[in-house]
Amino acid sequence: MTEQSPSLLPAPRIAPAIASTTDPHLEIIDVTKNFGAQAVLKGVNLSVAKGGTTAIVGPSGSGKTTLLRLIAGFEYPDTGSISLNGRQVAGNGAWQPAHKRHVGYVAQDGALFPHLTVGQNIAFGLDHSALDGGRRAVRDRVAELLDMVSLDPAMAKRRPHQLSGGQQQRIALARALARKPELMLLDEPFSALDAGLRVATRRAVANVLNEAGVTTILVTHDQAEALSFADQVAIMRGGTLAQIGNPFVVYTRPADRATAEFLGDAVILDAWMEGSLATCSLGGIPVRRPPAQGAVQLMLRPEQIRIAPDGPIRGVVVDTDYFGPETTVRIRLAPKPGAGSDHRFPGGGEVITIRHWNASITKPGTELCLRVVGEGVAFPVEN
């Protein structure tokens, strides 16, 4: 978090996902699914481009795993349709069962077959007759796949329970890749791993899938994972997709407050919107495409609020949480005497939470000068 980069221009790594929706690999239209009386999916629309990476992120119970299982063919949608490569595989009377969809699937715990060796697990889906050269060809292919997921080919003789969690996940990926699927579904594959391993495994998996050019859908409840993994993020809440967009857009311009708070820490302040300028306790903040005029709620990301000696806003440190590389600082903004009478100019006094790298200047009671960089996002006032 450098203090000199207020640029909020879109990063270059994104965008193919949305651009090529004309030829989607996967198309989900108005899919609903009920379990008994409980509506789990209430009309989901999603389009995934060929070769793209999509993350479906949402709190547990939002229906994201159900959606993935519908795509895999383990469940049948109540209404709506699912198409792969323009061919309908579910809905409107069409049905293609899981084993005919050529869709790879990696479950949360890897779901390795405990009664088979690693090699046998990887070879499980291989069509032995289709491989020329019989056993030898199978062995070579297994070695090749193990190499692809950066594991030692000697591991083929081991049993799943002899492997670490990260290794099991990579074996599960190799097993799913063996059939060269065009679409790979990952159901929270990293959540069972500890923090360090999670990042390393995620990166390794992303690289493998990227090199293989496989369209990938990742389901996760971890927003950081979703934002770092995918080039299209779909936020699921209460059985619908609340927002779909590239990671940068959904993080910096969330569609609603719940999405904003789900994707990361947010500073929410009452504000008064006039034109494209929102006035709040942090001063006037520009807002792109304001949804309303007058009273709104303004959302800023904590990292947009910087401690700067020449900053125009004053605040006193209430307390701090020290995390090592950075410190979470709660700051009470200075009240603005007299402004409170006019509802257009908020009176200050709110407590906001920001992050700072230097703990020594954020002792409780210290008065700080603050500056806001970039744009804010305005939401209509919730009643």
């Binding site: 008994g36 063919g73 699937y105 779901a111 499980f124």
Partner: protein, 530 residues
């Protein structure tokens, strides 16, 4: 596209099952449910028979047959037997389990197996051994002696399994709250054993109600021996039927008592997760008395009967090994045991599959019906099958098929419990993984679910086999003419006081049972808490 129908069927399945997120089995749940319902209805036949007979007899006749001194005497005998034997078995079983699992008992690994060993000796063989040594044994106290020695392992095995996996952190917390070792045992350990104790006590009580041979041998009358006597004299008399209905009421009452006394213990069970190994209490000066007590118990329950059987075998010499007699008996026992085990496993599979993959009130009800049937004594099942087959299907009376069907009903839960835990180790995710790897639902089921549950199925089958080898009562009632099993052959010989002649059969039964008993002991460690 053979799988298309299964997909459309599955939609119905979620509604029939009435319960959410369940995977679609390779074969439709409805089809499976129909099979399971048929099995459950079939298993309710004996109960239905007793109810029908009681109703058909009419109240006056029934009352006249039930409220008479003879029934009062049987009732007194049975109640007294249960009231004395069950607490004794609890003390021996829980005490033994505690010594073996939680104290620094020397050689506790050996003792752990030794205390389960008496289960390899059928109660009627035990009774035979004692009577052959002490011919004057008779009446309630002899019954209590033999029953306790035969059945205390039924409490010991679940109690030991439970004790072995109790979270020691709870006991340590109790100690840190100021409780001494004795207080910890009575206030913390014992309450956690509640499920094991009530379950074990129920098993002991049901065995007491069902046992025929052991009590007939020492001329101690219970309902079961009285029904058998009635059956032998009047074949299918109303009096016998009325005794059976009282016996069934007794069994159902015990089930209710067990469910009640189990209470909320089920919900208080500790969760899974890594836990420390329990610490063992030092015995100090109690080491020697404990060793002696366990030695005495093992000698009485296992050593003595084995030695007596061996002694009769040796005394009999080569004369008692009449190949023309015991080889057919052995072969027929093996044939019945293997066939019965196989059929029972096949029948149990749909029920277990539904229970694991599609839990809900429906599969619970199915399980309950089997549970109730399995609590019925062999004599009632036998009687029901005799009557029903004679009246409705004379063709099947005294066929081996009918006997196998009775075995299936009697021993279904043994297979069910094992299959359930086996299927639980083959979660639907693995099945789905196989399907996402291009295997058709049937192939995925075959290569993953069936393959993974096979060891558990084999374990359950082994226990059914053990049950059939040692089954006497229903076999006596239902076996085809000319059939002899080890148990029936042993019974006819020992009834004629031919102790030497009976000995080879007793020995063979013990030898066949021993490995299965060891298996049961091993399994109890794995499925503790079930």
């Amino acid at each position: 596209m053979s799988t298309v129908p299964s997909a459309s069927v599955s939609q119905g399945s979620t509604t029939t099952a009435g319960k959410g997120k369940r995977p679609r089995p390779p074969f439709g749940v409805p089809a499976l449910s129909v099979i399971a319902v048929l099995i459950a209805l079939f298993s309710l036949l004996p109960l239905g028979y007793v109810a029908y007979m009681t109703a058909a007899t009419g109240w006056d006749t029934a009352a006249g047959l039930i409220f008479r001194p003879r029934v009062g005497e049987l009732l007194g005998n049975t109640i007294l037997l249960i009231l004395i034997t069950v607490p004794l078995s609890l003390v021996l079983g829980v005490g033994g389990a505690w010594l073996v699992e939680r104290t620094a008992l020397r050689g506790h690994r050996v003792w752990a197996v030794a205390l389960a060993a008496p289960l390899a000796i059928p109660a009627f063989v035990n009774s035979y051994a004692w009577v052959s040594a002490v011919p004057s044994l008779e009446g309630i106290w002899s019954g209590v002696l033999i029953a306790t020695l035969s059945y205390f392992p039924l409490v010991y095995i679940p109690a030991a399994a439970m004790l072995g996996r109790l979270d020691p952190a709870i006991e340590q917390s109790a100690a840190s709250l100021g409780l001494g070792p004795w207080a910890v045992f009575f206030r913390v350990v014992l309450p956690q054993l509640r499920i094991a104790m009530t379950g074990g006590a129920l098993l002991v009580a049901l065995h007491l109600l069902a046992e025929y041979g052991a009590f007939a041998m020492i001329r101690f009358d219970t309902f079961t021996t009285a029904i058998m006597t009635q059956f032998q004299s009047t074949f299918n008399g109303t009096a016998g039927n009325m005794l059976a209905s009282v016996l069934v009421l007794f069994c159902l009452g015990l089930l209710v008592v067990e469910v009640r006394s189990r209470g909320t213990a089920r919900y208080a069970r500790i969760g899974s997760g890594a836990q420390a190994k329990p610490t063992r209490l030092r015995l100090g000066v109690f080491q020697l008395p404990s060793q002696l007590a366990l030695l005495a118990l093992t000698v009485l329950a296992f050593g003595l009967p084995c030695w007596l059987v061996l002694r009769w075998v040796l005394l009999g010499g080569s004369a008692i090994w009449d190949a023309a007699e015991f080889i057919p008996a052995l072969l027929q026992t093996l044939a019945y045991g293997l066939t019965g085990a196989l059929v029972t496993t096949v029948v149990a599979f749909p029920l277990a599959y539904l229970a694991v993959r599609n839990p809900g009130w429906f599969s619970k009800a199915l399980e309950l019906s089997n549970y109730v049937t399995s609590s019925l004594p062999g004599i009632v099942v036998g009687l029901a099958f005799v009557t029903i087959s004679i009246r409705l299907l004379p063709g099947v009376y005294q066929t081996s098929g009918l006997l196998i069907a009775a075995y299936v009903l009697l021993f279904l839960p043994r297979s069910l419990v094992n299959l359930r835990s086996g299927l639980a180790q083959a979660p639907k995710e693995l099945d789905e993984a196989a399907r996402s790897l291009g295997k058709s639902p049937w192939l995925a089921f075959l290569k993953v679910t069936l393959r993974l549950s096979a060891p558990a199925a084999a374990g359950g089958a082994a226990l059914v086999f053990l049950g059939i080898v040692n089954e006497l009562t229903a076999t006596l009632l239902l076996s085809p003419n000319g059939t002899s099993t080890l148990a029936t052959e042993f019974w006819s010989k020992s009834s004629e006081i031919d102790y030497s002649g009976a000995a080879p059969y007793a020995l063979l039964m013990i030898l066949l049972s021993a490995p299965m008993t060891y298996l049961l002991f091993q399994q109890s460690k794995k499925v503790a808490g079930q």
